[in-house]
């Protein structure tokens, strides 16, 4: 699933990313954001919830892919 978070100001991107993780446990989630600071916030939140976080630059922002880590 992909969620467009462009245009949202802090703290909305991290709030919405957190909700997406809670509603879709175990699923990979793609997020579109337009601020580098949102990438940092989401990466810290994802790390705490045991998700890997990959960030790619896009034409007008960033695409973040959150993937659940398998915990042994």
């Amino acid at each position: 699933m992909e969620i467009d978070l462009r245009g949202y100001e802090c703290p909305m991107p991290v709030v919405k990313a957190m909700k997406a993780i809670e509603k879709n446990p175990g699923m990979a989630i793609s997020l579109l954001v337009d601020k580098e600071s949102s990438c940092d916030d989401i990466a810290r939140m994802a790390q705490k919830r045991h998700y890997s976080c990959k960030t790619e630059k896009t034409e007008d922002g960033f695409k973040i892919t959150l993937t659940p880590l398998k915990i042994e």
């Binding site: 462009r6 245009g7 949202y8 100001e9 802090c10 703290p11 909305m12 991290v14 709030v15 957190m18 580098e36 600071s37 940092d40 916030d41 810290r44 939140m45 705490k48």
Partner: protein, 364 residues
Amino acid sequence: MNLKAFFLSKKSLIIGAGLVFGVLAALMVNWGNPANMGICAACFIRDIAGALGLHRTATVQYIRPEIIGFVLGAFITALSFREFRARGGSSPIIRFLLGAFVMVGALVFMGCPIRMLLRLAGGDLNGLPALGGLIVGVLVGVFFLRRGFNLGRSQKLPAMAGWVMPAFMIGLLLFIIFKPGFIFASTSGPGSIFAPLAISLVVGLVVGFLVQRTRMCFVGGWRDLFLSRDTYLFSGIAAFFIAALITNYAAGNFGDAGIYHWGFDGQPLAMSDHLWNFLGMALVGLAVTLVGGCPLRQLTLTGEGDTDASVTVIGLFAGAALAQNFSAASSVKGVGAWGPTSVIVGLVFCLLIGFFMREKATAS
């Protein structure tokens, strides 16, 4: 994380920024600002509102260069790091009103979240009920955020829109330099007590730079702690408080020869009505959590081209004028006649928009 990785991390940068800001904010008193008011975004905006004649409280009228520095420091930094982006259109009228109520709450307590920490770091224990109120307000705000509270998306705007607030600040700077007759200036009271222009402006610019780079926020730190257990922003404000406290001791501000002492009574530019200190700051904590950043953060966002933050800042100015004109602001004598009513109206307003401005109620 090893030591080297920590010192290169963003967290170490915000801790460093908090330490520098804490030292400078405490020293601003030694350099000429009012006691326990080295830096206060709310009081300083109130003083500028007075200087522009928006209110007529003669003791709090002065164009504070620190505010100009916050905006221009963030503006120059955002341009240098290619982070200036003009944007706006996210519920401006709600942001204006939230800004006004943030100011009302702050002027009932007599300080923004920065000054609350500075007052505590200067021994003023009236900051404790205020801190309790701030935390309660933030917790209620976090409840609304989790429930789907949302002011909507902003849109990209032509760059010119983002230049308006920095241009306004340059205009204020020109007023300080050329002193036109229509600008009011206090001859007594806190508005007449200030550090030299160059020091105030440079400190403001440095703080604007630090806040733009780290996104330091004196309410966001608490918010993120409760919202996502994220300690990044909180580490900045904790460093700020520790640095201010140590600086006050090192500068000799405590003790018999100093200006500060620990306690509730006889504190500089403060009042000891614990209920309204608590509720005033609860309003600040709630309104700031809903609007997305403390007054200092809003000022620096205006420098990055965020016109929604500019509307919030204009709300702060309007709130200051209204609070002074309608006796809502507190003074050293106690709570203003209309202070309690204004705080209750503000809390009711915040609760209403918290409940009703939800994701499902908006098109986004």
